[in-house]
Amino acid sequence: MHDRRIDGRTEVFGNASTLFMTAMTWYDHRTESIWSQPWGRAIQGELKGIELCLLPSQIATWESWVSAHPETLVMTNGTETLGLFRERFDPDFVIGLLWDGQASAYYYQDVEAAGVVNDAVGEEPVLVWAGDERFHAYLRTLNGRVLTFELSAGELIDEQTGSVWDPALGLALEGPLQGEALRPVPGSTAFDWAWLDFYPDTDFYSP
């Protein structure tokens, strides 16, 4: 998910109906420049070189999403196709995180097996949590302090204060840090080879 403003001006994007490096392309209605989706960047036309700001988003089951965000709205366009596909993470599916020009990627299965991963994107410490076909990634620096997370009896705990965290919200539910929130890391999901095509310098997490 991207912020579709360029220098403060809102642009409308459509489907350029062609492939670039086997991945989708967009066009913007104003200039009809061609954009590469994985880069979020215009690769041809007047806006070439402009890169949209990537925003944090999550993939979750409806059940877990609505319990974390009861105020949520649901898009209903095209819902005649609902239920046609039961999505699951394939073994070569990764979550790719982007921070400050650095990229890290994590296989869903590795993170799920570990429960929680304390890692870094470049120099930036991050927390990656996976389970129930869900991924969540947060910066684990809070108010200048780097937290380290572990699972204890199924609960996400930081070792520094023992506070209990909700992985879906990045929110401390109990303990000294109650009410504090971690910042989500912008990222995307992709097949590993496709991610590498676009971000060849990626650090792949290995357990």
Binding site: G14, L19, C53, P70, E71, T79
Partner: protein, 183 residues
């Protein structure tokens, strides 16, 4: 989203046939064919297979295309809303560094001359320009349906992934931030 099965749908001819037939055959069975092929490729996990299957798909698509090219038209896009520059930069309480409030598009110096083929009309797979939402209690989703979710500033939206797979793009906004959702 760089999903192989989605890539299959990206195949231009296939995409056009896919979109055109979809409006005629509302049963969804047309959609299942390419995804079945894609699943097969996933299982083989090979790019060579992908290239091979892609070639077959093109031939297959072309034959359908030629027989079905009468009366086909990309799906109805609907009116495109008037867009105006964002007057203010909202403040996000949760994360001010990756705050969606600031429009932080970058400029990348890139002299590479990328080659991108143009075979099909723009929006051959019609994006969603006018998303419609209902509150959670009216949701048509079942519990284990996967969604792409976004939340900030006390607002949250969920986009069913099975819909994103078909339509691929949504022009939307959340808490005043214009967003582009893509799959």
């Amino acid at each position: 989203m760089l999903d192989l099965s989605a890539v299959m749908i990206h195949d231009p001819f296939f995409a056009y046939v896919h979109c055109s037939l979809k409006s005629d055959l509302r049963t969804g069975c047309v959609l299942i064919i390419p995804f079945g092929i894609a699943r097969y490729i996933d299982a083989r996990r090979g790019r060579i297979y992908f290239a091979l299957m892609r070639a077959i798909t093109w031939i297959f698509s072309l034959s359908i295309f030629l027989s079905a090219c009468e009366g086909v038209a990309p799906g109805d896009v609907g009116p495109i809303p008037e867009m105006t520059p964002s007057p203010t930069e909202p403040v996000n309480s949760l994360d001010d560094e990756i705050d969606p409030g600031a429009s932080r598009n970058k400029r990348v110096d890139d002299e590479t001359d990328y080659r991108v083929g143009r075979h099909l009309p723009l929006d051959a797979i019609p994006p969603i320009y006018n998303p419609v939402f209902v509150p959670a209690e009216q949701s048509p989703l079942v519990a284990d349906e996967l969604i792409l979710g976004v939340a900030w500033d006390g607002e949250a939206k969920a986009y069913p992934i099975s819909v994103l797979r078909i339509r691929e793009m949504v022009n939307d906004e959340l808490a005043g931030i214009p967003t582009l959702v893509t799959w």
